[in-house]
């Protein structure tokens, strides 16, 4: 005998099935391109020009694709190191500059304070794509054209509006009493900032770092314009050479391998520090 409770339970069951059916389908659509590329990058030379049906290697796992990728530019290691240097350099400089500025804006009073803060935030309104030419010329004047350090400085500047905003809020949330107590104990200025306050604003630092890393690792246009010699290319710029191919034929295995090399660190960092990433996103969205 089917009671009303049975009917309701059955309906809930089917709605749950439908919900997760849609969920799994959607998740598959968003995940599949990564999986296909990742699996396909381990196919051998014989296979990697063929359609990825099925995507996984059918004649044994091979690293032919990565060897092919290594044949471009100055070798994939060199370019990965370039990308890592630029990304970590950007993270370190962004954290240093934005912690100092966030502390200054949060704790001190000085003339034009609000105007300067608005100036930093207002740079968000202007796309850096529109000032690439002068950046190119200014870096050349500073002797930093075609240098990873020059590129790093640009990336740090691009990160500043978000990072300074985040760090100011982080310092605003630290009670003044802690600082006063530390001052009485004899800590002051930079020592106070590094030893006492830094641990308290670590979540903010994590958020700033992850955004700086991902943006520097992924940036393409500025790197394409500002880096002119082969051995300095970051990974995305190297990949344009792979994409262009040689003698009219493209080594798709190298493309799959390159995509894997570029994507895996991003996904890894995101999954590891997801909490801090989302916090930054919310701060940006609520602002």
């Amino acid at each position: 005998m089917t009671t009303r409770r049975d009917i309701r339970a059955r309906r809930a069951f089917w709605s749950r099935i439908a919900y997760h059916g849609v969920g799994i389908g959607t998740a598959f659509f968003f995940l599949a391109p990564f999986l296909v590329s990742f699996l396909a990058s381990f196919r051998s030379n014989k296979e990697n020009g063929l359609p990825p049906l099925p995507p996984w290697p059918t004649s044994g796992i091979s690293i032919d694709a990565y060897r092919a990728l290594d044949g471009f530019g100055s070798g994939v290691w060199q370019h990965t190191v370039n990308s890592l240097v630029v990304s970590f350099g950007t993270v370190v400089l962004t954290v240093a500059v934005s912690v100092l500025a966030g502390y200054g804006f949060s704790r001190y009073r000085f003339p034009l304070k609000n105007a300067l803060f608005v100036l930093i935030i207002a740079t968000l309104m202007i796309p850096f794509q529109s000032i690439l030419t002068p950046l190119f010329i200014i870096l050349a004047k500073l002797g930093l054209n075609n240098s990873l350090f020059g590129l790093m400085l640009i990336y740090v500047t691009l990160q500043l509006p978000f990072s300074v905003f985040m760090m100011r809020n982080a310092f605003d949330a630290v009670p003044k009493e802690i600082e006063e107590a530390a001052r009485i104990d004899g800590a002051r200025d930079l020592k106070l900032l590094v030893r006492v306050l830094m641990p308290l604003v670590m979540p903010g630092v994590a958020t700033v770092s992850i955004f700086a890393f991902l943006n520097a690792w992924n940036e393409f246009l500025a790197a394409l314009v500002l880096l002119s010699s082969n051995e300095n290319y970051t990974l995305p710029v190297l990949m344009t050479a792979v994409r262009a191919g040689r003698l009219g034929s493209i080594n798709w295995g190298a493309v799959q391998a390159g995509v894997t090399v570029m994507v895996v660190p991003c996904l890894f960092v995101f999954l590891l520090l997801q909490r801090y990433y989302m916090r930054g996103l919310m701060a940006g969205a609520v602002k």
């Binding site: 995940l31 990564f34 590329s37 200054g104 002068p134 991902l214 690792w217 992924n218």
Partner: protein
């Protein structure tokens, strides 16, 4: 430095303390200000200055007044680029919202696995647009990619269709790629707006007999105005600046019909080396985006005024 000591001690000490603290504050923000000045303020002014010159890569720049701007007004290719960018912006924004809005509702309530769905849908957001373009240009390749052989195997098409050969199909492919890449971001933004709506309100409307569509139209949408404006503006400004996907996926597309504004500026400045003209085009782009930002501030304000 040394000022005549006339005042009594306490006020002077206070003043000196405030001055020192002001100086210290400026010291803390100095590195940030230096970077913003050298790599932002000066370049913006410099772009303006360059835009009044004929500025070749080698040789002396020459002042030509508004020459670059009058050239812009008669540059058919620039207006084609502008038109294409506008077209792309409208289509991709509609597509992103059409996908992201249902997704936001889908992942709104706490249920088992919901956070896993959120994370997976968000994954493409954190990879670069360049990586995503590269991945999809392979997937869309007619001989070695996934889509053409897959569609053929499924019997959807007769033979293999080259998705990137015609404008319409290439455009569609890029739209799908960008939706895949960005929808998760818009979804999260919309989700914050959805979750800010008090559950009691929706409950009350339900009890009053409002149907699902009515609740959405007369309750959810108006209450989400600020979030919607934000998501809309982020999507629009991002799309206007599109470059990577066209450069990597179609190299400007069939018959050069996929040249976006940034791509055109890139071509003028760094391929043809008309740096002055490129600067004038940049100023035009900058003006468009600042105008949009002002509209954004106004939209968000309007959201504030009405409850």
């Amino acid at each position: 430095m040394t000022m005549p000591i006339a005042a009594s001690r306490p006020p002077r000490a206070r003043r000196r303390k405030r001055n020192r603290s002001g100086l210290a504050g400026l010291l803390y923000i100095a590195p940030a200000m230096a970077l913003v000045t050298v790599f932002f303020v000066i370049p913006v002014l410099f772009t303006l200055w360059m835009s009044f010159h004929r500025w070749p890569l080698l040789g002396a720049p020459r002042w030509i007044g508004l020459g670059n701007y009058t050239r812009m007004l008669t540059d058919a290719r620039f207006f084609t680029a502008l038109g294409f960018t506008a077209h792309y912006t409208v289509v991709v924004t509609i597509a992103i919202f059409a996908v992201a809005f249902p997704l936001a509702f889908f992942v709104e309530k706490q249920r088992p696995f919901v956070s896993a769905y959120r994370t997976i849908i968000f994954l493409p957001v954190v990879v670069g647009l360049a990586s995503a373009s590269l991945l999809w240009v392979w997937l869309a390749n007619v001989d070695s990619g996934l889509f053409a052989p897959l569609f053929q195997a499924l019997g959807l098409t007769n033979g293999r269709v080259n998705l990137l050969a015609t404008f319409d199909m290439a455009f569609l492919t890029i739209i799908v790629m960008v939706v895949w890449k960005i929808a998760g971001f818009t979804m999260i933004i919309l989700l914050t707006g959805l979750q800010a709506i008090p559950a009691e309100l929706t409950e009350a409307a339900r009890i009053d007999g409002a149907r699902r569509w009515q609740r959405f139209r007369y309750l959810t949408l108006p209450l989400m105005r600020r979030t919607l404006a934000l998501a809309l503006i982020l999507s629009i400004t991002g799309s206007i600046l599109a470059f990577d996907q066209f450069y990597i996926m179609t190299s400007g597309g069939p018959q050069n019909r996929m040249i976006s504004v940034v791509y055109y500026i890139f071509n003028q400045s760094f391929v043809s080396f008309n740096l002055g003209y490129g600067a004038a085009l940049s100023i035009a782009l900058l003006a468009i985006l600042v105008a949009i930002s002002i509209v954004q501030l106004w939209l968000l304000k309007v959201g504030d005024d009405r409850p």
